[in-house]
């Protein structure tokens, strides 16, 4: 069980150290810098090069350290924590293999613009470059997958490196920042000086959009006949959900969301058409296709949304709001580019816009929505994945934090789960990293212990990180983990069925009994084989207190995720029904 790491005498010493300059070692300086950043929790796994850091953690009573069983989980949990809370997630690993195990989670944070700080141990300075035991060039390896990284070669630089890391991670377009600290830097005694403010010469963030561009955008939207708002994760990061909702309600402009933007507005609002893209709703995709003006905000025109670029919204003029200038015009030219913070820009835009005349447009959209809603058939025999997702939506009222893994179940969850507010749908969007779901749900639960957090995973993805059931049990997490178990790598199997003549190459799994496995870990485990068992099992999982509850639901292995716009194609090629 968890050991309380607080040692009152040393805690007092640390508190005193915070008040006046005092000699401390690099690792203690690191703890003080984390305290000043308000870090309350970090996810990590110790090792040789990070032993001094862990020795300082032993005394850091302001900081809760969650020992994970694999560093990949630490990074995913930090992401889940950041996405649920809006704060910076922190993970740590030792040099070499510890650090390389963080890579998938760091890349996920990069792709989805999630603020995390990764702190890695490094071999001592004198042996760097000598192929020492557990040495890896971690700053070199992580250059393309971090917003920024640094190798601290002087303990006096630790405060600046840490405060810069947090500042870079959370400002502008958020992202992961890695700080690599050699073991002897962590051990060296210094008198630290903590900077009062951070100023980074080559880093500027433009927050306020150009007034003339915003005026042009308001004009274009006010006169539009078939406008659409296309909103993404940038809304969540900018905490701009209220502004987007106000804009949508004031103008009645149909609003589609990317998978990263889910929950940006209350998805039960009929003005919201749900998810757009490869597995988005048919009506959201048709609306984009026919739109004359598109307000794209906090999105990056990802290929899973656009399909073939030249056929994406071919008649539309694009207004593109983003905090990252490099996203504007990257994939699709913007007619009205606006660089700025979504919250600020939308707030100004609302004041200038006249609701457009779009009754005819809504008539069209409602007809599409009526003709092609999401639908499934739940027979009496095999359990439909969609039935489980639909039921989870109904049982939680869209008020839980739904965290998914990657694959078919992820898209079904995105289709059926209708979050009522931001930060309530967490998924590996850009990277599509299997193994993400359960650890990210753990991180979200640590961030929001009083909210219902639900992990929905596939059998394939769960196997990638399930060892950390040990961690969730250790911390007594009330966490339902719903496995939509079809005994296959479902999305791979679906593509093989559709595009590779049904040749199911290495996509069928031989699984253990996950419910029994969960019990062995000390979690609750429930196996579901028949449709009528689903609802009682979900209800039990949602109310299990003090330990995770794994519900292993045997699902129909032949169910396909539709609608689907095949990769690289357009809405014209959308597959609607089997």
């Amino acid at each position: 069980m968890a050991r309380q790491i607080t040692a009152p005498a040393t805690a007092r010493a640390a508190a005193q150290a915070a008040r006046r300059p005092q000699r401390m070692n690099g690792a203690q300086v690191l703890m003080e810098a984390l305290r000043r950043e308000g870090v309350e929790i970090m996810f990590g796994h110790p090792g040789g090069a990070s032993l001094p850091i862990y020795d300082a953690i032993y005394d850091a009573d302001h900081l809760r350290h969650v020992l994970v069983r694999h560093e990949q989980v630490a990074a995913h949990a930090a992401v889940g924590y950041a996405r649920a809370s809006g704060r910076v997630g922190v993970c740590t690993a030792t040099s070499g293999p510890g650090a390389t195990n963080l890579i998938t989670g760091i890349t996920d944070a990069m792709m989805d613009s999630i603020p995390i700080v990764a702190i890695t141990g490094q071999v001592p300075r004198p042996v760097i470059g000598n192929d020492a035991f557990q040495e890896a060039d971690v700053t070199g390896i992580t250059m393309p997958i971090t917003k920024h990284n640094s190798l601290v070669m002087d303990p006096r630089d630790i405060p600046r490196a840490i405060h810069e890391a947090f500042y870079l991670a959370r400002t502008g377009r958020p992202g992961p920042v890695l700080v690599d600290i050699p073991r002897d830097v962590s051990q060296e005694m210094i008198e630290p000086r903590f900077p009062d403010e951070i100023s980074i010469k080559g880093y500027k963030v433009v927050l306020d959009g150009s007034p003339s561009q915003i005026a042009a955008a308001a004009e274009a939207l006010s006169g539009a006949e078939r406008p659409v708002i296309y909103a993404g994760g940038g809304i969540i990061n900018a905490e701009a959900g209220a502004e987007l909702t106000a804009l949508m309600e004031r103008t009645r402009i149909p609003t589609v969301l990317t998978v990263m933007g889910k929950g940006a507005v209350d998805e039960t609002n009929p003005l919201c058409l749900g998810m757009v893209g490869m597995h988005g709703s048919a009506y959201a995709n048709w609306a984009i296709n026919d739109a004359d003006v598109i307000l794209a905000v906090g999105v990056r025109f990802d290929d899973r949304v656009t399909g073939r670029l030249k056929d994406f919204a071919p008649r539309a003029r694009f207004i593109h709001i983003d905090i990252d200038p490099a996203e504007i015009g990257k994939n699709k030219p913007a007619h009205i580019p606006i660089v700025g913070d979504a919250k600020r820009v939308l707030a100004v835009l609302i004041g200038q816009i006249r609701p457009p005349q779009i009754d005819a447009w809504w008539k069209q959209i409602d007809a599409w929505r009526e003709r092609h809603p999401f639908r499934y058939r739940q027979g009496s025999d095999r359990v439909s994945h969609q039935y489980v997702c639909d039921l989870l939506n109904r049982l939680t009222g869209g008020r839980a934090i739904m965290v998914t893994d990657v694959g078919q179940h992820q898209m079904w969850a995105a289709q059926w789960y209708r979050p009522r507010e931001p930060r309530s749908f967490i998924t590996s969007g850009g990277l599509g990293a299997m193994g993400f779901g359960f650890p990210a749900a753990m991180g979200a639960k640590f961030a929001c212990p009083d909210r219902q957090v639900v992990a929905v995973v596939g059998d394939g993805g769960f196997m990638m990180t399930m060892q950390d059931l040990g961690t969730a049990v250790e911390h007594g997490q009330s966490l339902p983990i719903i496995i939509l178990n079809n005994g296959t790598l479902g999305m791979v199997r679906q593509w093989q069925t559709f595009f590779y003549r049904g040749r199911l190459s290495s996509s069928i799994l031989k699984n253990p009994d996950f419910a029994r496995l969960a019990e062995v870990f000390g979690a609750r485990g429930i196996r579901v084989e028949r449709p009528e068992q689903v609802e009682p099992a979900l209800r039990e999982a949602l109310t299990t207190e003090g330990r995770p509850c794994v519900v292993d639901v045997m699902c129909d292995p032949e169910e396909n995720c539709l609608p689907m716009i095949p990769s690289g194609q357009s809405v014209k090629e959308m597959i609607l029904d089997e």
């Binding site: 700053t139 070199g140 393309p144 980074i200 010469k201 080559g202 200038p325 490099a326």
Partner: protein, 165 residues
């Protein structure tokens, strides 16, 4: 997609360990081919200038400069396609030269205002400075004598006039 062409991007970077790797890594990751890349100090001690000539479609050059600006160490990145510039490159060319061909080569050097910086009984080494097309031109003339080896600095560029690059 339009045809790639050589675009020049001038980049001011903080003079820190690893910055060249970051810039080069970003260029590679975005699938862009480097023609030349030159780095050197500037009037500001902590700042270096990189002049990078890359193959990008004209409509992607600015987008590429924006990606470079996202690197924290990059202080400024300017795509200098459309503004008047001064461009220079330096080349050292070691060419076969017998007593019989020496005069001819010196004449070529004269025309191109190249300096003879070394001489042996078998070779001459020329130093030529100018725009890349001028350097290309003298190299093509010298090819027939047999170029033994050559080193080029890559292009360096500043904007003409009083404004900064």
């Amino acid at each position: 997609m339009s045809e790639p062409h050589a675009a020049t991007i001038s980049v001011l970077v903080q003079n820190q360990a690893g910055v060249l790797v970051r810039v080069a890594g970003l260029i590679r990751r975005r699938g862009v081919n480097i023609h030349s890349l030159s780095v050197g100090p500037t009037e500001d001690e902590g700042v270096s200038r990189m002049t990078i000539v890359v193959d990008t479609p004209p409509d992607k050059t600015e987008s590429f400069a924006k990606q470079l600006r996202k690197l924290v160490e990059v202080l400024r990145a300017t795509a200098i396609d459309d503004i008047p510039t001064v461009d220079r490159e330096l080349a050292l060319v070691k060419v076969n030269a017998t007593p019989g061909t020496r005069m001819e080569i010196m004449e070529i050097a004269n025309v191109f205002r190249a300096n003879i910086v070394d001489l042996t009984d078998k070779t001459m080494t020329l130093e030529v400075t100018g725009r890349t097309d001028k350097v290309d031109a003298i190299i093509s003339l010298l090819t027939k004598y047999g170029i033994r080896e050559m080193a080029r600095t890559g292009q360096v560029t500043l904007a003409r006039g009083s404004q900064n690059t």
